[in-house]
Symmetry: C2
Subunit: 135 residues, 2 copies
């Protein structure tokens, strides 16, 4: 894991949920959408195909784990998964709970309006529910 440093933009926009075997798991500070970000702790990786196959096999399980937990905790109708990297190139996977009628439905959340930060209690409550589900 040597050399990994979380991109400052990702650090500024999120709160830490946990470090898993490969990924740092972050909660996006945007109360419009329950939204996790998984960042593989590898330096210099921008594309999924830049990771090694063993890392990819761990990553896909971690994304699936985040997806299942987020759906269970929020009751969302659909989970959206994305790895774009047009603005922040460091490889990171978004896992977002979506529902008909949410701010961006049925479009994508990326680039849609501005974030609405959580209050500390709401943020900590969601982090606690996710942590309990994932235990």
């Amino acid at each position: 894991m040597s050399g990994f440093v979380l991109h400052p933009r990702l650090a500024a926009d999120t709160a830490l949920l946990a470090d898993w075997d490969l990924s740092r798991v972050l909660l996006m500070n945007d109360s419009r959408f329950a939204w996790l970000i998984l960042v593989p702790r590898r330096a210099g990786v921008a594309e999924l195909h830049d990771l090694g196959p063993l890392d990819r096999s761990v990553l896909v399980e971690e994304v699936a784990r985040a997806s299942a937990a987020l759906k269970a905790v929020t009751g969302a109708v659909k989970i959206n998964i994305g790895a774009l990297g047009n603005v922040v190139a460091q490889l990171h996977f978004h896992v977002v709970a979506r529902n008909p009628g949410d701010a961006a439905w049925p479009g994508p959340v990326w680039g849609y309006g501005g974030p609405v930060p959580y209050g500390a209690a709401a943020r900590d409550g969601l982090l606690a529910r996710l942590t309990a589900r994932l235990a």
Copy 2:
């Protein structure tokens, strides 16, 4: 693979590139972006976490293979990967070549304007280049 039927919306919007071990690989008929769609040939699957772990390990390798080939053939600056399913619930992964200055840059392609269909020669040329790269 019994019971798998490609969603008619995906069939209507794409041309067939190949069937890989797990996924049907399709070229989106939108000349604004070089854009592949991978659909695991499993019935009744909407979320990544609905697939079994063995299927997931194959899927992530197939997505990486599509990503590397698309980047090599197009010379794109960045590959975008997404699985949304807000409109078509059947699990499918988008793999999209992106460049600064393309129609939607740096935003996501999903829901951005209307598709600009290929002419037959341009579509077949891209399919041939991708097929050669993947051989």
